[in-house]
């Protein structure tokens, strides 16, 4: 059985936000819903300073707290590990947002879709936003619609530095499995035991 996963190479990432934007366009996510995004972490004191760009997205945890707490079954996990929200079943209770340790879920407030980015809807927004229902929760889908077509997620395809590597974690020879093995991949907040499908590598 396939289990889709991603490795993020922090050495390669230059924090350009191409992933942030490609995700928003591919999925037509509403304003301020950043399924993919990049944090800039600064540490140290001038001039001994270190800056790290940390791209994040839903970790598609094997033991996903958001799925466990969902009272309606709207949040569910596919056999290939991808965690999704069925918007028809979502009642907007936001238990999942409280349960997610990674803040990777977004609530779609009333009126957001109507106003669009400009106060009036554009043809692009008309074409893309019909997938969403106000009053529900949205999240990264690992671009399941693309993956099912045999394509990599939008954030992976666009990444100028190839910092995002997507593939099957069950296949020991896949690119992510190899990177996790060879460069000691780490899961975010692995101590929580959610077993994320997203790994980070740093140092070569």
């Amino acid at each position: 059985m396939t289990r889709w996963g991603m490795v993020i190479d922090l050495d390669r990432c230059v924090g350009c936000n191409a992933c942030t934007v490609a995700c928003k366009i591919e999925n037509g996510t509403p304003p301020d819903h950043y399924w993919a995004r990049v944090y800039t972490e600064e540490s140290g004191t001038y001039p001994e300073v270190k800056t790290t760009y940390v791209p994040v997205l839903c970790n598609h945890c094997e033991d996903a707290p958001c799925v466990t707490v969902c009272p309606t079954g709207a949040s569910y996990q596919r056999e290939d590990g991808i965690v999704l929200v069925d918007q028809d079943k979502c009642i907007g209770c936001r238990f999942c947002m409280m349960a997610c340790p990674y803040a990777n879920r977004f609530f779609l407030r009333k009126g957001v879709l109507e106003a669009g980015y400009h106060g009036e809807r554009t043809a692009f927004e008309d074409a893309k936003w019909s997938a969403f229902t106000e009053g529900t929760v949205t999240k990264c889908t690992f671009c399941a619609h693309r993956v099912d077509d045999g394509l990599e997620p939008a954030c992976v395809v666009t990444c100028p530095t190839e910092a995002r590597i997507f593939g099957d974690l069950e296949d020991p020879e896949s690119k992510p499995s190899t990177l996790i093995r060879e460069r000691n991949g780490k899961q975010p907040l692995e101590e929580l035991g959610t077993n994320p499908s997203v790994y980070y590598v740093q140092g070569r």
């Binding site: 390669r12 936000n17 692009f124």
Partner: protein
């Protein structure tokens, strides 16, 4: 798993069309998805080796410009005669015939009486042939920015050195990359998407990166070492580093300097080459023990250093003159200027010199080249200064010292376009310099015709800000006419010029302002008439712009029918030419500019009105052959391929390049003589053949303006057309480097400021408001302002911290050789006055 979008099926209602991006000037290959007539996605074209399927954040949002509600949807004429920032022009839509009648009514009399009364501001790099349209009209002006605070000092030095326009280190073979004031490979400048991948691959194979700049940019964050520096002092740093390379480590390529540059040519007391009676440059032959012509038959070994008597005059080699200057630039003295510790300069000099592998060679495609895998890369931050020519020269010369110019691993010239390098020998065995790649040099004239005084910059670029000064102070330049009409074409001078208030005052003096643009912006607000252009997704042009690693044309093509009543800018300009009676001249220009003249059947007939598609078809066929016309490109997208080693490395092998910039000294001396004949005072002090450190207007103690303000670009906004796209604005508003005015916490504490505090940044030339954003990644002398903070269109509550307002538009702050404007402002920080806070 497939990564290639093109493998997806195409149906009539869901298609992918190949094209080129125009969210910056460089034109990465893209595939555009059109679902039910709506552009829903743009991805990098994986078949294009330029960007290899990658696309930066700007390229991803291209359709948001297409569908932007602020598009100009039809020609619009102003109904409110009152003009000013925030004053509603009362736009009224009109038909194209009426609009073109209005244009003709204004421009035809000017064309017939004194065409200098038309000013044009153009910023459309992909349709760069249209930059010549004003010249066909008879107007010599450039009322915009093209380089005065990015590449003005960079392009002429590149062109003089090896006929390139831009330059970047060799991603493939470089092992030690010293980056100074540039975002190449990380966040900005040449072909970001492909360069970021090439850079990431190079870093992962172990290339060391050291980044020198005042702010911890992405280039510094990803570097093995960040070296903070005081703004505007990069030349001091590199002179100190060269001092250590030459005098302390002895790590420089004597063979390269001797055999491939003019470093051994003898220079007389006047700073010009010493010549023999046949007018040939001279060298000292160590074997013969005598001075001889550079190309004498049966030569012995040329000597690099020394002073020699030539006909009773003491002459020195160019290299000797360099050593004499360098001796005075020890790292300790330079440390006082640039704040980089002398020990750091020495260590970096040693690392760089060792990594250069001086003496080693590499064989590629059966040819042996020098192998110099260490190089210094630089751009705007290092050279956009009042002493920019010398900055650019010094940064070029450190590479020449290492023997790495245009060799594997080194510092590689990047041509402007599909033409590549311009390889022609001069009379001294050198590659003929090409200071002017954007347009031919303009002969000296006094008074000048052009408002940017191009006649007084024999080697520099159009310093558009001088046009602002000239419009406001015509007597200072002895103008004998008054400009009347401004035509802006994909240019936003109110936004992109320095001294915003002066630009507004200048624009207010014009009788009529016409704008060809896609959206309403800070400049169209002053227009009397707007002629709406198609967006890049609705229009067609074949081009290639500053490609670091590839060659060949890419086609940007209309992927959908125009959404609104817009027209292609090229066709608008053709119709104006026709209506104003100079179509024959313009067709002749286009034939020359697009290289159509080499095949008679492709040349444009003088009296025919061509469509843009017809012209592009001829251009494609002229570049390739009749099989590769516009239709071929529409289907296949591009002819882009990797450069071959023969194209990338020493394509001018056998010709020398400058180390001693005699051509600059000669041009400056000639200009001074020309001005002496007029009696007009014009400073030529920046025309020097070798760089040295001396304070400019922003250096030294300035108690009223203790800090240095710099601006910077990010991947989301560099070279961009998308800053006012709300999706991008919201992302930059939340990002650490672009959420406010960056200050070092210690500097802020000394001023009693905390994160988020409202402030005003005050220079001699302007005042802007902003909010403090603290960062340890900032030199304590510095105030850093992203260009993402400048927008006012569509902003979401953020203050407009328009950096350019802090800059001067004055001669005293302009490099009189290159036209570069000082782009660092000395500033102080004030707490807001009540009026501003309100």
């Amino acid at each position: 798993m497939a990564t290639r979008t093109e493998e997806r099926s195409t149906t009539a209602s869901d298609r992918w069309v190949p094209s080129a991006c125009k969210m910056c000037l460089h034109g990465c290959g893209i595939l555009v998805r059109i679902e039910n007539g709506v552009v829903t996605k743009i991805e990098g074209d994986p078949s294009n080796p330029d960007n290899m399927g990658k696309l930066c954040p700007k390229g991803n949002v291209g359709m948001l410009r297409l569908y932007d509600p602020r598009r100009v949807k039809a020609p619009m004429v102003r109904t409110n005669p009152e003009k000013g920032p925030g004053v509603d022009p009362g736009w009224k839509e009109i038909g194209w015939d009426e609009a073109m009648d209005l244009v003709t009514e204004k421009l035809k009399p000017i064309r017939e009486s004194d065409p200098r009364k038309l000013l044009v501001a153009s910023g459309d790099f992909q349709r760069i042939f249209n930059w010549a349209w004003p010249a066909a009209f008879g107007s010599p002006h450039f009322f915009s920015t093209v380089g005065q605070y990015c590449g003005a000092a960079y392009h002429p030095i590149n062109g003089i050195t090896d006929t390139s326009f831009a330059v970047v280190n060799d991603y493939r073979y470089c092992n030690y990359w010293l980056q100074i004031g540039s975002g190449d490979g990380f966040s900005s400048h040449l072909h970001l998407s492909g360069s970021a991948l090439r850079m990431a691959d190079a870093r992962m194979r172990g290339m060391r990166v050291v980044t020198v700049e005042p702010r911890m940019s992405p280039a510094a964050a990803k570097a093995d070492e960040w070296v903070p520096i005081r703004p505007g002092t990069d030349r001091a740093f590199i002179l100190g580093l060269m001092h250590s390379l030459v005098f302390e480590h002895g790590l420089y390529d004597r063979e390269f300097l001797r055999d491939r540059t003019n470093a051994p040519y003898l220079v007389g007391p006047d700073g010009h080459y010493a010549l023999d009676t046949d007018g040939k440059a001279l060298v000292f032959d160590g074997t013969l023990g005598a001075v001889r012509a550079w190309d004498a038959p049966d030569p012995g070994e040329i000597v690099l250093e020394g002073r020699y008597d030539v006909g009773g005059l003491e002459c020195a080699t160019g290299f000797q003159l360099f050593l004499d200057i360098l001796a005075d630039h020890a790292p300790e003295r330079m440390e006082e200027v640039c704040t980089v510790p002398a020990t750091t300069m020495r260590r970096l000099a040693h690392e760089l010199g060792e990594a250069a592998c001086i003496g080693e060679t590499i064989e590629l495609d059966g040819k042996t080249y020098p192998f110099r895998p260490a190089a210094v890369n630089y751009y705007r931050g290092a050279i956009a200064h009042q002493g920019g020519g010398e900055d650019s020269m010094a940064l070029k010369m450190v590479n020449t010292l290492l023997g790495n110019i245009d060799v594997p691993g080194g510092h590689l010239g990047v041509p402007l376009d599909i033409r590549g390098f311009f390889i022609e020998p001069d009379e001294h065995g050198m590659l003929k310099p090409q200071a002017h790649i954007l347009h031919p040099p303009v002969p000296f004239k006094f008074p000048a015709d052009s408002l940017q005084m191009m006649e007084w910059f024999p080697l520099g670029m159009d310093a558009g800000h001088i046009a602002v000064d000239a419009v406001l102070n015509p007597e200072r330049y002895q103008l004998d006419y008054t400009p009347e009409v401004l035509l802006t074409y994909h240019s936003n001078p109110v936004w992109n010029m320095p001294a915003q208030e002066k630009v507004r005052q200048a624009i207010a003096t014009f009788d009529y302002v016409i704008s060809i643009d896609v959206v309403v912006n800070e400049t169209t607000e002053w227009a009397d008439l707007i002629l709406p252009d198609h967006t890049y997704l609705e229009s067609t042009v074949a081009f290639m712009c500053e490609p670091p690693a590839v060659r060949g044309l890419v086609l940007r093509q209309a992927v959908i029918e125009p959404l609104h009543d817009t027209r292609d800018a090229t066709e608008i300009l053709i119709e104006i030419a026709e209506r104003c009676g100079f179509l024959d001249v313009w067709n002749g220009f286009l034939t020359f500019l697009l290289g159509l003249g080499e095949r008679e059947e492709l040349a444009l007939a003088p009296d025919r009105t061509y469509t843009n598609d017809e012209i592009m078809d001829r251009f494609c066929r002229a570049c390739y052959d009749d099989e590769h016309g516009l239709e071929w490109f529409r289907e296949h997208g591009h002819m882009v391929r990797e450069k071959t080693p023969a194209e990338a490395y020493l394509p001018y092998d056998g010709l020398r390049i400058p180390f001693y910039y005699e051509v600059i000294k000669v041009a400056g001396d000639r200009l001074r003589e020309q001005f002496e004949e007029t009696g007009y005072a014009w400073d030529t002090s920046n025309y020097v053949p070798l760089p040295s450190w001396h304070n400019g207007p922003i250096h030294g103690e300035q108690p009223d303006y203790p800090l240095y303000a710099i601006t910077f670009k990010t991947a989301e906004t560099n070279f961009a057309e998308n800053m006012s796209i709300p999706m991008i604005e919201r992302i930059t508003a939340g990002a650490a480097q672009t959420r406010g005015v960056l200050l070092n916490p210690r500097t802020a504490a000394a001023l009693g400021l905390a994160d988020g505090d409202p402030i005003e940044v005050v220079s001699r030339f302007g005042r802007v408001e902003g909010d403090v954003a603290l960062s340890e990644g900032i030199h304590p002398d510095v105030v850093a302002v992203s260009n993402a903070l400048g927008g006012r269109n569509g902003g979401k509550g953020r203050k407009c911290t328009h950096f350019n307002t802090l800059l001067p538009a004055e001669l005293e702050y302009t490099d009189n050789f290159s036209g570069a404007l000082e782009s660092v402002a000395r500033v102080r920080i004030e707490k807001p006055t009540k009026e501003v806070a309100a």
